[in-house]
Amino acid sequence: MRTSSSRRGRGRRTVLSVVAVVSTGTALLTGCGGDSDNGKGDGAAGGEQITLRIGTFGSFGYDDATGAKLYAEYMKTHPNIKIEESNVADGQKYWDTLKLRLSRDSGLADIQALEVGYIAEATGPAMADKWVDLGKTGGADLGAFLDWKVKQATTADGKVIGLGTDIGPMAICYNKDLFAQAKLPTDRAEVSALWAGDWAKFIAAGETYRKNAPAGTAFHDSAGGLFNAVISSEAVQYANAKGELDYENSTGVKKAWDTAVTAAKGELTAKLRQFDEKGTWNAAFKNSKFATVACPSWMTGIIKDQAGPENQGKWDIAAPPVAGNWGGSFLAVPKSGKHAKEAAELAAWLTAPAQHAKVFGVNGNIPSSKDTLASPAVQGATMPYFGDTPIGKIYSQAAAGITPAPISRWDGQVKTFLTDNGILDIEQRGTDPAKAWENVKKLVDDKIDQ
């Protein structure tokens, strides 16, 4: 009985079910549609109260809780503006979300921070038009920034889409205890002289270290870290002068690869991966498993945290063989924001030299403005954990020697393949370097969908 009736009614039921589905669907859609233009309900016209949202990752040192209290300061002088920061710890996740939001033109903050690894993608053809030209809007003094920092954030047609926050000049941090045990000099000037001018000298110092090394320690933390350090000091990196990916013919990549491979093959490294999530690399700081680590300014904080108070005074900072830049960020303003003009003004203020100095004082970020780098506040800065090392002097000198390289939008990805797949494979699994290089090429060909 049941089957027969259901057979008879099938045609009509189908119609009804379609109607039901469609009507419920429409109700849902309209329900969602009502949400879309919620905004913040604050018109910008005529000094009205507005909220500016700023999206950041990691630590920019602006906030009122642990940073330089810049938001509170700005809100005091601009009573109609309220600033809200949303922070994401993981820079890669931040960028992935930001890309998605840019593509949909929704959910964007009024100001978005950009890491240098992604700046080429942000200035590239797919995204260049999504940003406000901060060279024209907001009144930023572009001349105050390091020239190459401005150039990195400039699009092909001359728009400046991001204002520099900090840079990552690099030094070499070394463990004085281990150096002494391995009969190497411990004084920072002597150590700097040991390898000044050439990464080959750095490798040579590593050989000396290995001959007298305390058991269970290595000269350098990781071949991948050494690769990053060497390539950061090269004028040609992953891209050619036109900003196209050309890592295979790059002299910089070749030099960094060869240096890292020599170190890995010569047992100069502790075979670790930097920032590995299992904390093996972190633990090695505490247990003094390696004597040197390439040390962009932001790395000093990591050493201090990971080596811990029991190792205070053991570490020091020497000049790098060749000056380089590893890291640094920008502030950009998406065009689709409701208060793009006010946001541009805030971005310009946050990245002005005076604010750079305040952030450096609290957070240690090396400023990207020329005057601040030269100012006594930076030049005279010391770090007690490293035995009162004049970090300001060391890092501003390193910053002065930086040769900016052209960057392509695939730099970050190719770097990951080179270090995490190529070099780590040689270092940990003993893969033949020629084979590892072939593997990297295959990975790039297979996975980068150019």
Binding site: T24, K99, L100, T280, D420, K447, I448
Partner: protein, 352 residues
């Protein structure tokens, strides 16, 4: 017809059928319905016919939005070159043919298969033994039954992080113990087979209890008298297990095999977390990269969404094939059972 009867019986309003044109039979009511009654019967019909669909609509809408649409959209994406934020360009079957010649795809497929085998087989065997033990009357049975399920209740992330620490090459407990026993430390992450075995251990640890409980439920449905008869015939417990339990729960075993195979095909969380920072690429030399990891890497790390979608569809295809094989096996199983029952019945009849 039924509607008008029901409407008349409803006491809340004057039955329309008995209004003015009284005397006429129900047939005339049908020809000349008053406006109100027509509305009511329409409403009633709607209530009967449409409302069930409205009630089940949420599921189907959710399914359409989160199941069907992604499936179709992924299929569409897999035929294009897509990047997050950009527009799609037609590529036809290019993504699929690229997979066919990509050694990373075949490597991931092989890894998925090997990790699947070395985790599923021991896992199901151990689950069977566990269930068999739990099926006996033993002290604290309830406790043990809960205990075997505890790993399943643990989150993948928590379990994997603990195991990743145990298997840590430099500081892990396992290598420390191996060192005490005089063995060299095993590089659990960077060598291929140790890494795959370590991942299989995590999977096995987590799912054995779950499968054991499924087996236990099936075993409890096996009639006791079968065991009694077997015991009277002098069958040992092992014999009973092999000749009574296993044949009786064969459909359940098939079910767990299929579910575990599907799980193994989609293996993602364990290798990703076990590998730590190089988890997504399955270790520095892709030595434990599974299909899901490759898909994730393509889609979200390098931004090749079209190729990632192609992998997703290939995985779907694989699972459909597995499902098809399962259907074939269970059908042949059913047929065999039917034949056996028929034979038995005939035998009984012949005997009577």
């Amino acid at each position: 017809m039924a509607t008008s009867v029901r409407a008349a019986g409803d006491g809340s309003a004057p039955p329309a059928a008995q209004a003015p044109g009284a005397g006429a039979g129900p047939g005339s009511h049908r020809q000349r319905p008053s406006g109100r009654s027509a509305w009511r019967s329409t409403l009633y019909r709607l209530d009967l016919k449409a409302v069930p669909y409205v009630f089940i609509a949420p599921f189907f809408l959710t399914f359409a939005a989160f199941g069907l649409f992604p499936l179709i959209y992924t299929g569409w994406l897999s035929l294009h070159r897509v990047e997050l934020g950009g527009s799609a360009q037609w590529r036809g079957m290019g993504n699929y043919s690229a997979l066919a010649t990509s050694e990373f795809f075949w490597n991931a497929l092989a890894n998925t298969f090997t990790i699947g085998v070395i985790s599923t087989v021991p896992q199901l065997l151990m689950a069977l033994c566990l269930a068999h033990l739990l099926n006996y009357k033993l002290r604290g049975r309830g406790f043990f039954r809960v205990a075997v399920l505890a790993p399943y209740a643990t989150s993948i992330a928590a379990a994997t992080l603990v195991f990743a620490q145990l298997f840590n090459t430099d500081y892990g407990l396992i290598n420390t113990v191996l060192g005490w026993l005089g063995f060299d430390p095993v590089s659990w992450e960077s060598s291929k087979w140790p890494a795959q075995i370590a991942i299989s251990v995590i999977v096995t640890w987590r799912w054995t209890g779950y499968n054991a409980l499924i087996y236990l439920a099936a075993m409890q449905a096996v009639p006791r008298d079968l065991y009694e008869a077997a015991a009277l015939d002098g069958a040992s417990r092992l014999r009973q297990f092999l000749s009574v339990t296993i044949p009786s729960i064969r459909p359940t075993i098939l079910f767990t095999v299929v579910v575990s195979t599907i799980g193994a095909t989609q293996l993602f969380g364990e290798p990703m977390l076990f590998g730590g920072s190089v988890g997504i690429s399955g270790g520095s030399g892709n030595q434990f990269q599974t299909l899901s990891l490759l898909m994730y890497e393509k889609g979200w790390v390098t931004g090749a969404l079209g190729q990632a979608s192609a992998i997703a569809w290939v995985m779907l295809l694989l699972l459909l094939i597995i499902g098809g094989i399962q259907a074939l096996i269970s059908r042949s199983n059913r047929n065999r059972n039917r034949n056996r029952n028929r034979n038995r019945n005939q035998r009984t009849k012949a005997g009577s």
